[in-house]
Symmetry: C2
Subunit: 740 residues, 2 copies
């Protein structure tokens, strides 16, 4: 019996004909889909829609339109298509769901309530837009809350997160599944609005998912054609179906997404059998049922008291009942928790059998599920004795560590935005993450078990996809990215979301500082560090040599709820085996060199690739001016701030007659906390060979030393108080106006 498909030949177009059955215990096609009656669907949707209207009316604000428009999609997804367990939202093999149009969160909250997610009580739903600190219903879904896979809101990123979640499944499946024992085979569903398909990060991610043929991804387009500014046509008139086909998707059209639950359900379930990612183009009317349905007015506002009443009347409901969900609507979803428990039980049985048949692999899989690595990572980090002593670029030193970690531990997924030759993250035995289909089609050597990811020239998607990899299950992956540091400005909105969500990941950011050579000012990352140093819950670490690089990796791996950006040089760096220490680096700042005979006249702060200038200036000050300089290494201000006040003061040693000067090839913003003066770069850079660039910007010790001497003498004469409110920039302040 296939009533659904038969009935729906017209409403659904372009269903894939080639069914690739997956080992699902849920329905795999329309054939075994048992649909409730159209009347029951209608009843559930009516109640849902007025409930949304009530919730927004409570405080006279909120996003009502999209949730109301997406009612049929929600019923189809939560009742028929999605495989999950509402009483155990974290069940490992659950389908992942991402609401990329995060402002429609009431939709998700309300369906979570209906299907039986315990924490999502009626009382909680009413906390939407309230001042309650315990609310589980913030204005956008937040990862901290049960049943939410990723925090969304900044548009387009959720779609990229979903691509990451789908990749994570593919990689685990390819690594651990055995015929008959598929321990990972979940789908990823991603709800998107117009915006996610306009944002560059969404487009980048869509291209990649198409390229990788992630057939476990279904993008559900709530095509209501309305954005804040009115009709979406005002800024977008492209042929989205044709575009998505060109990008490698099976495109399925649903023409009545407002009320035809059956059509949506059939289309959703067909996505499980697709050979490509699926793009469901579902036509809906924003604010369906409301007086201003189909207009931008209903996007981000409540309907108004009278109109809510009218809406209820038009649905044949009592206008005087508020927040009312009748028993029969709860009954409609009553089977979901039980089905969820069955999913879990089936999965556990498969995992148990898999482990008996494949004890070694099964044990590793169990560790991954528990969020642990399969081996002791700490012994893979080179010890101090193994470090180079001759000048070595820190991108090379980092490459050694990445090689050891990623070469040995399946937890590490290593990616690059098309900078394999420059970023040194390609580990020896690497296998590319690719669709096996492309072996014959393009001669590519890779498969889904591969852990080296070519993201193409798509930094923003790389980082937003990485958030999906991190969020799949805490600790299962430690994803890494790599690109030039300056290109983090393309990706920072995604890195910020990692920090906000507490997602562990490691970003290898090479070509930091002005020592990037002739690529010039566009490639010299002036001002980018200031962003990351100010960003909560992020470690921005600039190691000065290989030993500090080791410390940076250890800090990053230990920071299980924090993304880390390791900032590395293109150019070779002098190694300081007598001075540098991983333990010091892990404290963020430490004493690198004391002054002569333990006394000092001035403190110099050296950072990353500029340490060499601090140390050379120290020598010159001693030889030429008999000035005793101590040097601090300061790879990470955030880690330093976590230390005790006693430790900090013991490192900084503030004295009323001794100034502190920071030497770093970035603007000095933020260093004023520790220093009284700076040798800094206060304009954009210059296209010159690396060494010449440093000279051009005044980093020669011969130029720095006399300025330090002058300041030391001035402070000795007049006291340090004279520098309060008068921070000294040896290279002048940041300027208005063009040119150096």
């Amino acid at each position: 019996m296939a009533p659904a498909l038969e009935l729906l030949e017209k409403p659904v177009k372009n269903l894939p004909t080639k069914a690739l059955p997956l080992n699902h215990d849920g329905p795999t096609s329309g054939d075994d889909l048992k649909l409730e009656s159209t009347e029951r669907h209608q009843r559930v949707m009516n109640i849902f829609r007025v409930f949304i209207a009530d919730l927004c009316q409570q405080f006279g604000e909120g996003h009502a339109g999209s949730p109301m428009g997406m009612a049929a999609i929600g019923v189809a997804l939560y009742k028929y298509a999605m495989r999950y367990s509402p009483t155990n939202c974290d069940y490992f093999n659950r389908d992942r769901f991402v609401l990329s149009n995060g402002h429609a969160c009431l939709w998700q909250y309300t369906f979570m309530h209906l299907v039986g997610v315990k924490s999502m009580t009626m009382d909680q739903l009413k906390s939407y837009h309230s001042a309650r600190l315990d609310s589980l219903c913030p204005g956008h879904p937040e990862i901290e809350n049960e049943g939410v896979e990723v925090t969304t809101g900044p548009l387009g990123q959720g779609l990229a997160n979903a691509v990451g979640l789908a990749m994570a499944s593919k990689n685990l499946a390819a690594t651990y599944n055995k015929p008959g024992h598929e321990v990972v085979n979940n789908m990823t569903w991603c709800m998107v609005g117009d915006a996610c398909l306009q944002e560059g990060v969404g487009l980048e991610a869509l291209s990649l998912a198409g390229h990788w043929k992630l057939n476990n991804l279904c993008v559900i387009f709530d095509n209501n054609s309305v954005t804040c500014d009115g009709t979406a046509d005002v800024a977008n008139t492209e042929d989205i179906n044709m575009k998505m086909r060109a990008t490698g998707y099976n495109v399925v059209d649903v023409y009545n997404g407002d009320t035809d639950v059956a059509a949506v359900a059939v289309a959703l379930i067909a996505a499980r059998s697709s050979d490509k990612p699926t793009f469901l183009n579902i036509r809906t009317v924003i604010g369906f049922g409301a007086h201003n349905a189909g207009t931008a007015e209903v996007h981000g506002a409540a309907l108004g008291v009278d109109e809510v009443a009218n809406l209820k009347r038009s649905f044949g409901l009592d206008p005087n009942e508020h927040f009312h969900i009748p028993g029969d609507v709860y009954d409609f979803f009553r089977d979901i928790p039980g089905r969820g428990k069955t999913h879990e039980a089936n999965w556990e049985a498969v995992v148990a059998k898999h482990r008996i048949k494949n004890p070694v692999l099964g044990a590793e899989f169990a560790l991954r599920v528990a969020g642990k690595m399969s081996d002791d990572w700490s012994k893979l980090i080179p010890c101090k004795e193994e470090q180079p002593t001759s000048p070595t670029a820190s991108r090379k030193s980092a490459g050694v560590v990445t090689n050891a970690l990623a070469g040995n531990l399946n937890s590490f997924l290593v990616g690059t935005a098309d900078l394999t030759p420059s970023c040194n993250v390609a580990y020896k035995s690497k296998v590319d993450f690719q669709s096996p289909d492309l072996r014959t089609a393009c001669g590519l050597n890779g498969d889904y078990s591969g852990r080296y990811i070519h993201y193409g020239i798509r930094e923003h998607a790389m980082c937003a996809i990485t958030n999906g990899l991190s969020a799949f299950n805490k600790g299962t992956f430690i994803p890494m990215t790599s690109t030039y540091f300056v290109f983090h400005l393309y990706a920072a909105a995604a890195v910020r979301m990692a920090a906000l969500q507490g997602l562990q990941q490691i970003h290898i950011a090479t070509h930091d500082s002005i020592g990037v050579g002739e690529n010039g000012p566009t490639h010299q990352p002036i001002a980018v560090a200031a962003l990351y140093r100010a960003m909560p819950n992020l470690l921005y670490i600039r190691p000065c040599d290989a030993e500090e690089v080791a410390g940076a990796y250890i800090s990053a791996i230990r920071a299980t709820e924090t993304p880390t950006v390791i900032s590395l040089s293109r150019q070779a760096l002098t190694q300081y085996p007598q001075n540098s220490s991983r333990e010091g680096a892990m404290k963020g700042g430490y004493v690198f060199a004391e002054g002569d005979d333990g006394e000092f006249d001035v403190t110099l702060i050296g950072v990353g690739s500029e340490m060499v200038f601090a140390m050379q200036t120290r020598d010159l000050l001693s030889k030429k001016y008999s000035i005793r300089a101590r040097v601090l290494s300061f790879p990470c201000t955030r880690l330093f701030e976590q230390q005790s006040r006693e430790y900090k003061l013991s490192v900084l040693k503030p004295r009323s007659d001794k100034p502190t000067i920071v030497i770093e090839a970035y603007p000095s913003n933020g260093w004023e906390r520790y220093a009284d003066a700076s040798v800094a770069v206060n304009s954009f850079g210059k296209s010159l060979p690396s060494e010449d660039t440093y000279k051009y910007f005044g980093f020669a010790p011969e130029e720095i030393a006399p300025k330090v001497r002058d300041l030391v003498e001035e402070v000795q004469r007049e006291g340090i108080g004279m520098l309060r409110g008068d921070f000294r920039e040896f290279n002048g302040p940041l300027k208005i106006g063009h040119g150096p």
Copy 2:
């Protein structure tokens, strides 16, 4: 005679059949194109390619592959298709050319030399990758140098810049052209590689150009299918032609882009007659002629001495001749300067006639060409007496100014990333910038003379396109953008390029601070200000009331070589007519309120929407603790740093027994320069109503005042020196780890 088209039926596919002749004095179709012989083309290309190889070999580095591969495209473009004047590169109605794959700059530099751009001497060409400070050949094209329209390098952005340049032409043409007197009708040519078509910013911009039907834009795709990581297939297997058709382009294929100059020329020239933007898909071989042609090896490296010699031999050239451009190759381009002068003369004649027929319009056009506004902008800014006194959101105050400016002056182009209802930049009489074709197709009300731009939900393209608008001709436009401040992280890479290039523009960034209401932490722009405050040549201004908003606009309009970000509140702000001053705001920081009877115990710094907490705390300190607080307003640290040392110290008044405390709802990074302690937000935000959010983060005066009192007493006891190296955060330091 139409030899070209006849010969090239096969090599060029999909030439548009519907020719829409423009009023060009250059060739408009293949019919009147007089091609040089294939042999001459071959000769010029051979010489060009070995010259590129020589230049890279000089210092053993540089990007040789793409320039060598693009030789035929260059000959076709610079000899046949592009309308420009090499002896007057700034000629107003010139075709604009953007090298979006900026690393291929040697290609542009060398063609500029060949066609007779005076400054681009042989000596200059040899300065590529040298340590010469006077080099006009940096590693990426720079706007400062003659003949370069925009600085490129960060991939994808050049393409968006080109869209902006094409829009600028369309807008000027629609505003000033009269039948028979087309004063603006130039084309925009944009060279792109694989990367620009992968980057999100490029994809966003392409969508917009397709939507707007910018038929004066021709995107030239150097389809060599190789990126740094090898074959482009490794990360991209989409059907680009189908995708571009779906996006609204005429797609033309050229199959032999390596040597078939005629095919490329015909395709380029046909773009002038297209009814849509043109996408030329030109197949080339990277490093054509070299031993490692067609591989990633030749992308960013010199060939090697022996291989350069081999290359020359294979082309029948003398391997012992270096940097040799024979006279016949110069002869090939000898007609270009003369043709350029003719273009100029013709244009000047048209402009003169136009002015006679249309004296008012013509006079305004002349002003715009001279980079001036058509009226005195300063009288459009509301004067102090006109400012509101009741609480007003600064986004509303800014809306008043935008309305006055954009409503009256054609120089202002105002855009929004789909936030018209929130950002208040829609001026009363606005006409949308749209293709008139869409009036009937979609019922849109707008045309190319419109100056209100719906960018859709595409922040990065909005800002990168804005750079093109600014760069069209200095002062002709002052483009404005608008979005929420937090979404500047999507766009910051483009705003940075504006600062780097010295492009004037105004960014309206609303919903700053944590007072954005229930949208929650994803929408609260923690850390973004730190980036802009550290960025060279950028004004980030946070006015505290309407009067300071006026000052912000004046500063922005006066800063003719600097982009400005005006940071505005969602929530209503208390107005301070007794305290605030536009002149003060324009100095960046000033005394807002003195202490009681002119004396003080502590200085409070209030910023933007947090000024109210500084002023309320001042009152409370006085009433409850008899502590005299003076208050500084500090809308722009950059403007403040430009003031004299005397002024700065007179505002800051550093005293050894009086602390300074900054109150701002961002991390305190950077404020350490002026303050000893902070009331700041050192985590991500929280989804709560605006007032509750401030309370949650400790901004209630009742909470601040006792902390201030304690610090004042501590400093009176122990002296200010105790705070050196011990900056106090009343709300704790920025944390590692997840959660508030």
